[in-house]
């Protein structure tokens, strides 16, 4: 009798699924804050960039072209130094518990957002650490001479030299527009640090609440300027374990999940209720050597180490063949890709010989740092490090694998105490400059994205030259030379370009993979 009561009760519980209207996205971690200007990590970008904010211009996720966003049109002067933006009218900011806007978006907000990272003297520059990794690594602050307000809806940006990737940088996830009025309110309340934790933007969703390691709640921005479908609630259910995310997707506790593991793709394909989207990714997973340290400052040693590993086997074991072998640092979808660059082939015997010639003794010991988190460009760095350990053992090199918690890991990498590291890069825009400059330019050592600590005047000259031209064929010429220089110097060994995957339930419609960065929920609906 007891069991029959139980069964009846269960039936009722099982059949009624009347959850309120909303989308649940299982994300992989807690964002550091809600301002992508301050943090390039995918987690922060996902949680803020396309949900809370808008940019002046956007990339079309399908074609990769620039499309108007908060700027309705823009004009580039003939000398390539002056950019004029016409701004959209009647765009409302979020009305939150802490702030009620009294005016629409205008030129002041654009000035505030750009000046915050550009000017050291800006009242908000030092808030939340004062480091702007993306713009710092590209030295954008030095590039811009001035940002002028021509009138309430017209802004002019002047550069000190033409740079063809500038527009692309304004369309990245990091070039978000904040509210100047909110900032003024915070100054008067003496709560400046709230600007990155209780954000106000113009985006499709506004932040309702955030509980570390549990959830982020967003509600619909009722006055969003784009005429697109929004659900009442958007929730990021923070689930660090990838298998748990998949399990929740199967039980319909999540409508979409972040970063499905490569080993789980088959499972997703087998489930009828789930959809798996795939797109070639704009990313690179690589093995970088700390070129500021002997013996890794010797290109021949780097070449020998590169020949000692079988990259095809790595791709099979780590990416489950959902990636392609990397030849350049840019993927084949980019126009700067060069197929005729000679890639290193697996040759342990030649590698061993070369190592001895360069004076590396038998049983030489080095460290391989393996990042502790899973990224599209390297889903399992620790396992990859173990495989590399085995390969290097064959050429007489002992490998110690080192890993720390993610933020400590990055901090210590920036200090340059590693011998070599397995890490990678996902592009934020379609411009190849987004690979060449952040990864290997001298300026990127200080901003902490040049993991090889490699500084070559010749390389910097080439990639800077490439930026002075807008014509693609001319730029390709310089990037081609840069590619050859890299193939010769090998500050890093490119390993793979991973495909990007996105898994969601069938009921969810309108979610597209954004190859240029963070996930977008504006326009996504649940049937």
């Amino acid at each position: 009798m007891l069991s029959s009561i139980c069964l009846c009760a269960c039936d009722g519980l099982l059949l009624s699924k009347t959850d309120p209207n909303g989308i649940v996205y299982c994300s992989e971690g807690s964002p550091a804050n809600f301002n992508p200007q301050l943090d390039t990590s995918g987690t922060t970008v996902d949680a803020s960039s396309h949900q809370i904010y808008d940019r002046l211009i956007d990339f079309d996720p399908v074609t990769g072209d620039f499309v108007p966003a908060l700027a309705t049109s823009w004009l580039i002067s003939d000398d390539g130094k002056t950019y004029t933006f016409q701004l959209r009218r009647k765009v409302s900011f979020h009305d939150t518990q802490t702030f009620t806007p009294t005016r629409y978006f205008n030129a002041d907000d654009v000035l505030f957002s750009i000046d915050r990272w550009r000017l050291m003297t800006h009242p908000f520059h030092q808030i939340s650490g004062g480091r702007y990794p993306y713009t710092d690594s590209l030295k954008l602050a030095d590039l811009i001479t001035k940002v002028t307000r021509l009138n309430g809806y017209r802004v002019e940006i002047t550069l000190n030299k033409p740079e063809s990737s500038f527009l692309a940088n304004l369309a990245t996830d990091f070039a978000v527009i904040l509210s100047a009025e909110y900032a003024d309110k915070l100054i008067s309340r003496n709560q400046k640090e709230l600007i990155d934790h209780k954000p106000v933007g113009t985006g499709p969703y506004q932040l309702a609440s955030f509980r570390q390691d549990r959830y982020i709640r967003y509600t619909k921005h009722p006055k969003y300027w784009r005429n697109i479908q929004l659900t009442d609630k958007l929730i990021f259910d923070i689930t660090p374990s990838s298998s748990l995310r998949l399990a929740k997707l199967i039980t319909a506790e999540c409508d979409a999940i972040a970063l499905p593991a490569h080993s789980e793709l088959e499972v997703i394909k087998q489930q009828d209720a789930l959809v798996l989207d795939e797109k070639p990714g704009l990313n690179i997973g690589f093995w970088a050597f700390n070129t500021s340290k002997a013996p890794f400052n010797n290109p021949e040693v780097r070449r020998a180490l590169g020949m000692a590993i079988d990259k095809n086997a790595l791709i099979e074991a780590i990416y489950f063949n959902s990636a392609i072998l990397a030849k350049n640092i840019v993927p084949p979808t980019s126009w700067a890709f060069q197929s005729d660059v000679k890639a290193l082939s697996y040759n342990p015997i030649a590698a061993k010989k070369l190592l001895r010639e360069q004076g590396i003794p038998e049983n030489f010991s080095m460290t391989v740092w393996a990042m502790p988190v899973q990224r599209a460009y390297n889903p399992n760095a620790t396992k990859m490090a173990e495989l590399i350990q085995a390969y290097l053992q064959e050429v007489g090199i002992q490998v110690n694998i080192i890993s720390y918690e993610w933020s400590t890991f990055r901090e210590r990498l920036t200090q340059g105490i590693h011998d070599s590291v397995l890490i990678g890069w996902s592009a934020d825009n379609g411009d190849p400059d987004n690979f060449y400059r952040p990864l290997l330019s001298c300026a990127a050592i200080e901003s902490g994205t040049n993991r090889a600590m490699w500084c070559s005047q010749e390389y910097d000259l080439l990639i800077n030259k490439a930026l002075q031209y807008t014509d693609i064929s001319e730029r390709t010429y310089f990037y081609g030379q840069a590619n050859e220089l890299l193939a010769e110097q090998l500050p890093l060994i490119p390993i793979a370009h991973a495909s990007r995957y996105q898994a969601h339930r069938k009921e969810l419609q309108g979610l597209v993979i954004n190859p240029y960065g963070g996930v977008r929920f504006g326009g996504v609906k649940k049937l």
């Binding site: 009722g12 309120p20 649940v24 390691d213 399990a247 929740k248 199967i250």
Partner: protein, 343 residues
């Protein structure tokens, strides 16, 4: 009576003293600076640091420091979490009710199933029902809790899709927090669709409750069975039969009460075990309780949180255990400790 009371108070105070001392020492044993482990603040500014050092009297000798530490504890200043930056007392009082709630429901469920089955086994003493119940209960007792939880998830969530596998309620419901007990909070709130929210909360409750309740249920079956058998063999039961009562009347009038009274407090003693099991199960079901929170704290090396969480949970368990134990002593002075330990 007073003597017993005094002895227990002393025992509780001594235990609490040791626990608080341990938590205090932990701040020094953990890596990093003790003052940061105590306050949970990354004290970068000098004035801030000096203020905190003054508060905890780090320059004085260890006893004075401990005294200041206790002062701060009682004032509700438990420090803040390294990872979330929230005051720990707030975090603990946010997560602890979820664990207590889960354990309480599991305890009720165990009573509900364990008591009748225990009686059944005793009444069919040395018969097939008895033996099969005994073996099933032994099996239930030997199943590791986390394994059971995983099997339940595998079967009911992933295969059948009946129940969700994580959390207390679908996150789409926003339940205003009043007591911290989700079912009560739902009933108290007025802005939401109550029946839908209750359904969602119950669906989330079933699997974790079941996985914790299994072990306790088997314990309760065995305790009840022993007690009932012992009672039914007493002379007053024989006397009742002699008075011509039917077996049913004997059981209802004399058996049930006399068998239950001595064991009820013993059964309540299962609560600490339940709480411990709940903490394991929480991390499997992502239940936002204190156990899950503590495990997260350990992963993130959030030393202030580990210290405060450990102290809060152990104090709760100690006080609960001692008060039940005391009740047993006061209501039934004949009982001995050794008797309570057997199953």
């Amino acid at each position: 009576m007073t003597k017993v009371l005094l002895r227990y108070t002393n025992l509780v105070l001594a235990t609490l003293f040791v626990l608080s001392l341990l938590s205090f020492i932990l701040a020094y044993l953990f890596p990093g600076q003790a003052i940061e482990n105590l306050t949970g603040l990354r004290l970068l500014e000098l004035t801030e640091r000096q203020n905190s050092e003054l508060k905890y009297a780090v320059d004085a000798n260890i006893l004075v420091q401990y005294w200041h530490y206790m002062g701060e504890l009682f004032a509700g200043n438990w420090g803040v979490s390294f990872s979330s930056g929230l005051p720990l007392i707030e975090d603990v009082s946010h997560y602890l009710p979820a664990s207590i709630e889960l354990s309480a429901y599991a305890l009720f469920l165990s009573f509900f199933i364990g008591l009748p089955l225990g009686f059944l086994a005793a009444l069919r003493h040395h018969k097939f029902t008895d033996y099969s119940l005994l073996s099933v209960s032994l099996l239930g007792y030997s199943i590791p809790v986390f394994w059971l939880a995983l099997i339940l998830i595998l079967f009911f969530s992933l295969q059948l899709g009946w129940f969700p596998l994580s959390g207390r309620i679908s996150l789409l419901f926003e339940i205003p927090r009043a007591t911290g007990f989700i079912l009560i909070d739902i009933l108290l709130s007025d802005s939401i669709d109550k029946s839908a929210a209750l359904t969602s909360a119950l669906r989330h409750l079933i699997l974790p409750t079941l996985s914790i309740a299994v072990v306790t249920t088997t314990l309760i079956i065995r305790i009840t069975r022993r007690s009932v058998i012992k009672t039914l063999n007493s002379e007053f039961i024989l006397a009742a039969y002699a008075r011509g009562l039917t077996p049913r009347q004997v059981l209802m009038r004399h058996g049930v009460r006399n068998a239950l009274i001595p064991i009820l407090p013993l059964l309540a003693m299962q609560f600490p075990t339940l709480l411990t099991n709940a903490m394991i199960v929480e991390s499997i079901f992502s239940w936002p309780g204190i156990g899950n929170w503590l495990i997260q704290a350990i992963y993130q090396q959030d030393y202030p949180a580990i210290r405060a969480g450990m102290l809060a949970v152990s104090v709760l368990v100690v006080i609960f255990t001692m008060s039940i134990d005391l009740t047993i002593r006061l209501t039934d002075p004949r009982r001995r400790r050794a008797e309570r330990a057997t199953i």
